[in-house]
Every structure is written in structure tokens, then in C-alpha cells.
Amino acid sequence: MKLHTTEIGETTVMALAGDVDLSHSPTLRKALMELMFQRRAVVVDLSAVTYVDSSGIAGLVEAYQMARKNGTSFTLAAISDPVGRVLRLARLDRVFTIADTVEAAVKG
């Protein structure tokens, strides 16, 4: 898994790439939690994610819950097919705010 963040105005864009599995999900979770503590608006770019497992999804769910509590925005953007498949199976596609592109997500 690769993780890269960019600041666009008030929003942090976190781009993930590769396999987000149990060996990487703790890193993802930690990075997301830090942004949540800073109360940043976060867009997670999932376009280059080749695989995500339940532990990766769990990290996203936790961030979603914190953002709701904080009243900040948390958006998943440009989700790849593998990510979309897992989100649908877990019926989380109706829970997360999902944008087609990163640009659309940043504009809100």
C-alpha cells in the first residue's frame, strides 16, 4: 500500500494505492485518526486501490464515525472496482459519502 497526502485549501486529500490489507491497515488507520484529530476535511482517493479487506474498510468506518461526531466532512472519491465491490457487499456504499472524482469531492 502507498499513502500520499496533499493539501488543497481546507481539505486534505489522502491518495491510497495498492493492496490495503491487514499488514497495512494499521498505518492507514493511524494516518486517518491524526487528520480527524486535526478536524481536517478529508477526501480519500481510492482510484488506485487494487484490493481492500475488512480491516481496511474498518479504518474508513472509524474515520467516518469521528468525522460525523466532529461535524467535519469525510468523502471517499473515485473508488476502484475492487473497493466498490467490497463496499457493496458490506452495504456500506449507502453509508459513506462517495464522489466520482477527487475534484468533485474537494468542491463538496
Binding site: D19, D21, S23, S55, Q65, R85, V86
Partner: protein, 561 residues
């Protein structure tokens, strides 16, 4: 009550000094004989004896032997058989003997006086004993100045002889412990030599593989794999009765004999008979060897076997396991048993595998404490059937070892039909053992992607299978092993139009309820994995694990093109 004088006080206190000095000398002593001699010198000087000797009881002969001697006559090494004499009387009665006039004592033999010219007048002798454990006695002769020894002298000597007895017991215990430590080191060395003697891991293509797991210390098990000049391969497995150094040496000897004789003798029956005869050349003192020797002809897939008292080898054929029962008594029992040779059995592998093992396998314990037995052993072997032979043996051993069920050494040997399979037997089944760690998940996913494709799953389905296996592996890593070290075995196979995935671990049984899926309307992290598995598979079931070891999860999905 008599008043003590200043002189008496001084004497008592100097006796005490002597006792303290000697007791601490004993405690620090490395050389007991020298210490006892020095102690005897001091006692003799302090109590004013012209001569003194120290006798120790020799357990083997039952005699008293003089270990130290002070005075004009040298009697060190003198042996006193049980019977008369003041020393024996002291030891027998276990109380100090004060003889004011030796000549009037009926037990005084005078033999030493006669031999040495020494004239014994008075004797003081105290037993060296502690809590009824008799070690010997200290004997003093002739108080200087012509007086006889006194009762007070007797008390001092008794106290000193008792503390020397204690010191001696102590030093003997220390020596015994040191000897045991030496023996332990010897065993460790022997076990190292044994391990070095076992055949190295064979090349994956070899039709014969073996593995040995010593339970602790020195093993009585052995196996051999020995390619012969004509392309055939000789092999053997054996178990020496008993434990420890003798068993280790006999095992080493038997294994060496096999290596030497396998090249010379024609057929395993002759090899075993020749080993038996060699073993009788050197006395075995009640020890014996159970052993199977065999020769595989890889070209025909045919094995010739001979069995001397060993567990029957098991042939895994198309329709299950068959024991090869023929056999003789163990080697080393009686020379006449093998006088007419040893019968041989011919086994056609016919694409199957022949397993040979020591009783450590069938006597291993399952998690509920029951013995594995031959049924448990065969189901364990079958559980790993799709793995390459060497990995399969390692997986069986690991599954026993990780649950700590081994009570004895285990040795396992497999002889396979290495010929290319004629009848389209290649099923594409996949089995492999992985470390149960997050870092290996990528490798596992790659293997599932590849194998699912090979078994005819369309790409979408393959992707789902990858996810199901990954989630199941996560459950093993997180819930079964709880983050600790462990292994898992992944098995994929196609049965008609069904893809069957099995995952086995060696952790304590998991409570299935704990990893059941959570209600999905409850949005929280965790609990998703099992739901994902169930949504993509047709069936997800925990099966009774083979041999009651670990957990076995089976997931099934119909393959629709």
C-alpha cells in the same frame, strides 16, 4: 554444681573456635580427602592425641577403610572387615567409645600394635554419622602426658565428627550433581551427533522424504535414504528400545550397519538378517531395535519391504490406507530368529504413497488428551495430501508440535510413486503452508488468484475467492492465534463444479460464535470479515479438524462459467 574455672572457660572457647574453623573449612572444601586429613591433624593436636586415624565406610565392600592417619605409624588404606575392634563397635553402636585401658577391653584386637610396634594405651573413637546415615569414624590414640581421654574430650570429638559427616554428605551431593551435569552435556552432544547423522533434506523431486522430530534430548529413532548405484533407492526407519546414551549408541550403530549393508546385501530381508546377526556379535543387554528396510525401484514404482517388529507401513492407495502387515520380531532379540532370513513383501505403489513412521506418531496426543491412533494419523496425512511430500511431512509434524502433543520422538518417512501420472490424475489441487502473519497475506492472495483461474473460476469469482480466503486468514491471525506465532495451511481443490477451499490452523479451537457476522445496519468497524466470506461463498463451515488438532474451515462455491 561445680564452678567452672577460668582455665576451663578458655578450653571450651578454644574448642568452639576449632569447630567453627573446621566447619567453615569443610563448607568451602573442593578436596575432601585433604580437608579431612587437615581436620584430623587439628583434632589430634587439640585433644593431645599421639596418633589418630579416620575411617570411612565403603558401601561396595562394606569395609571400613582408613582415609587419613596421624602419628608414628602409617595405616592409610588399611581395611577393616565388619566384626571386632573398637572402630567397628563405635560405628555399630553409633555412639562415641572411650577406652581408658585398651588392653583390658575385650574388643581391642592389638593387631596393629603387633604389626607396627605402636603401644596403644587409651582410645577415643567417635562415629561420623548424621541422622542414622553412617559414614565412618574418627579414632584417637593415647592422650599425651600419660593420662586417659576424658568424657569432655569425647563430647568435643563427637561434635567434630558429626560436622565432618555433614560436610562429607554435602560434598558427595555436590559431586553427584556435577556428575549429572556432565551426563546431561554428554547427552546433548550425542543428540547433536545423531541429528548430524540423519539424511539431509532430499531434493523436492526425490520420491522418498523423511523427517525426524526428537521429543527431548537423545532420540532412539532414525531413518535412512540411500540411493544405490543401479538407480534404486534403499530406505529404512527404526526405533531403538529404551532411552538415553545406550539407545543413542545402538541407534547410531544400527543406522551405520544399514548404510554399509544396503550396498552389499541383495534385498531388505537380507539386510535386516545381516544387521540382526551383527547386533548379536555385541551384547545388547535387553535392548532391541524395531526396523523396516525397503528398496524402491523408481522406474516401476515397486517397493520391496522387510519388517522386523516395527509398526506396519501404510500404503495410501486410491481407496484408502492399507497396512502392510507381514513381519518378523524385532532385531537383537535372539540369534536363531533370523537364521533363515527375513521374509519380504512387494508393494506396488501404483500412483500412491507408502508411509512409514515410529510409534511417536500414533501415540501423539490430540487436544482432548486422547491418543492420535492410526486413524488420527491417517486423517492427518490425508489432510495434507495435496502438498508436495516434504512439505506434507513438515505440516504433519508442525500440526503435532504446535499443539504440544508430542510425547516421544517422531519419525515419518514417505515413499511415493515418482513416475509421471498416466491417467490424467493432475487435478490442479493446491496446498501450501504459510506463516500466519499479515505480511504473508499478499502471497496467499496471489496463490488463490492463480489457482482459482487454473481450476476454472471466472475472473470475478476468483476475485471473490481471494477476498474470502484473505478474510478467513485474518480470522486465523487475529482470533485463533491472537497475534502469536503460528501456521496455516491453505488447500484449494475442484470437486466437479464446486470449488472447495479449506483452511487449517493449529491454534486452540476458536469459539465460532465470537466471529459470527454482526448485524449490518450497525455501522461500526470490525465483524465485517465473516460477513464478507459468507456473502461470496455458498457455504462456510467449521469442520471437525483431522485428528482433533486446530481448526478446519471449509468454504465452497459453485463454479458457473
Amino acid at each position: 554444681m561445680p564452678r567452672t574455672t577460668a582455665a576451663q572457660d578458655a578450653e571450651t572457647s578454644s574448642h568452639l573456635d576449632l569447630m567453627i574453623e573446621m566447619t567453615s573449612g569443610f563448607a568451602q572444601s573442593q578436596d575432601m580427602e585433604a580437608t579431612l586429613r587437615l581436620g584430623l591433624e587439628r583434632v589430634a593436636a587439640r585433644l593431645g592425641a599421639e596418633a589418630a586415624s579416620l575411617f570411612l565406610l565403603e558401601p561396595d565392600s562394606g569395609e571400613l577403610v582408613c582415609h587419613a592417619c596421624i602419628g608414628p605409624t602409617e595405616v592409610t588404606g588399611l581395611r577393616l572387615a565388619p566384626g571386632k575392634g573398637i572402630v567397628w563397635r563405635t560405628v555399630d553402636l553409633d555412639t562415641p567409645q572411650l577406652v581408658r585401658d585398651a588392653r583390658s577391653d575385650p574388643d581391642f584386637t592389638g593387631a596393629i600394635d603387633a604389626a607396627t610396634g605402636f603401644v596403644t594405651r587409651s582410645i577415643l573413637c567417635a562415629p561420623m554419622s548424621f541422622r542414622g546415615q553412617k559414614l565412618g569414624a574418627i579414632e584417637l590414640f593415647n592422650k599425651q602426658g600419660g593420662h586417659a581421654f576424658t568424657t569432655a574430650d569425647g563430647q568435643v570429638l563427637r561434635a567434630l565428627s558429626m560436622s565432618s559427616a555433614l560436610a562429607l554428605i554435602n560434598s558427595r551431593l555436590v559431586a553427584a550433581a556435577a556428575e549429572q551435569e556432565g551426563f546431561r552435556r554428554e547427552l546433548a552432544l550425542a543428540s547433536e551427533i545423531q541429528r548430524a547423522m540423519l539424511p539431509p533434506p532430499q531434493a523436492p523431486a526425490s520420491p522418498i522424504h523423511g523427517i525426524n522430530l526428537p521429543a527431548r534430548g537423545v532420540s532412539g529413532d532414525f531413518f535412512e535414504i540411500l540411493p544405490l548405484a543401479d538407480g534404486r533407492i534403499a530406505f529404512a526407519i527404526g526405533d531403538v528400545s529404551g532411552k538415553g546414551m545406550n539407545a543413542a549408541l545402538l541407534m547410531t550403530k544400527t543406522a551405520s550397519l544399514f548404510r554399509c549393508l544396503a550396498k552389499r546385501e541383495d534385498g531388505p530381508g537380507r539386510i535386516l538378517a545381516a544387521i540382526d546377526s551383527e547386533l548379536h556379535e555385541t551384547g545388547l543387554a535387553g535392548m532391541f531395535v524395531t526396523m523396516v528396510a525397503g528398496i524402491l525401484d523408481p522406474a516401476s514404482g515397486r517397493v520391496v519391504l522387510a519388517n522386523a517388529g516395527h509398526e506396519p507401513p501404510l500404503l495410501r492407495g486410491r481407496d484408502g490406507f492399507h497396512p502392510i502387515e507381514d513381519g518378523m520380531p524385532p532385531l537383537g532379540i535372539a540369534a536363531h530368529l533370523f537364521a533363515d532370513g527375513c521374509p519380504e513383501s512387494v508393494v506396488d505403489l501404483d500412483g500412491g504413497a507408502l508411509y512409514l513412521f515410529t510409534d511417536g506418531l500414533t501415540e501423539a496426543r490430540t487436544l482432548d488428551g486422547a491418543m492420535l491412533g492410526s486413524h488420527g494419523a491417517t486423517s492427518l496425512l490425508d489432510a495434507f495430501a495435496a502438498m508436495p511430500a516434504a512439505e506434507r511431512l513438515a505440516a504433519v509434524m508442525r500440526s503435532l508440535d504446535e499443539v504440544g502433543s508430542l510425547r516421544d520422538d517422531v519419525t515419518l518417512l514417505v515413499v511415493e510413486d515418482g513416475r509421471p501420472r498416466a491417467k490424467g490424475a493432475a487435478t490442479g489441487a493446491f496446498a501450501r503452508c504459510y506463516a500466519a502473519r499479515p505480511e504473508t497475506l499478499g502471497e496467499i492472495r496471489a496463490a488463490v488468484t492463480r489457482t482459482a483461474g487454473e481450476l476454472g473460476c471466472p475472473p470475478d469469482m476468483a476475485q471473490d475467492m481471494v477476498m474470502a480466503v484473505d478474510e478467513a486468514c485474518q480470522n486465523i491471525i487475529r482470533h485463533a492465534y491472537r497475534g502469536g506465532e503460528g501456521h496455516l495451511i491453505l488447500h484449494l481443490d475442484r470437486q466437479d463444479d464446486l470449488l472447495v477451499i479449506r483452511l487449517m490452523d493449529f491454534a486452540p479451537p476458536v469459539e465460532v460464535a465470537k466471529i459470527n457476522p454482526r448485524p449490518l445496519d450497525e455501522v461500526r468497524p470490525g465483524g465485517l470479515g465473516t460477513h464478507l466470506m459468507r456473502s461470496v461463498m455458498d457455504r462456510v463451515d467449521f469442520l471437525p479438524p483431522p485428528a482433533g488438532i486446530g481448526n478446519l474451515l471449509q468454504m465452497v462455491k459453485r463454479i458457473t462459467p
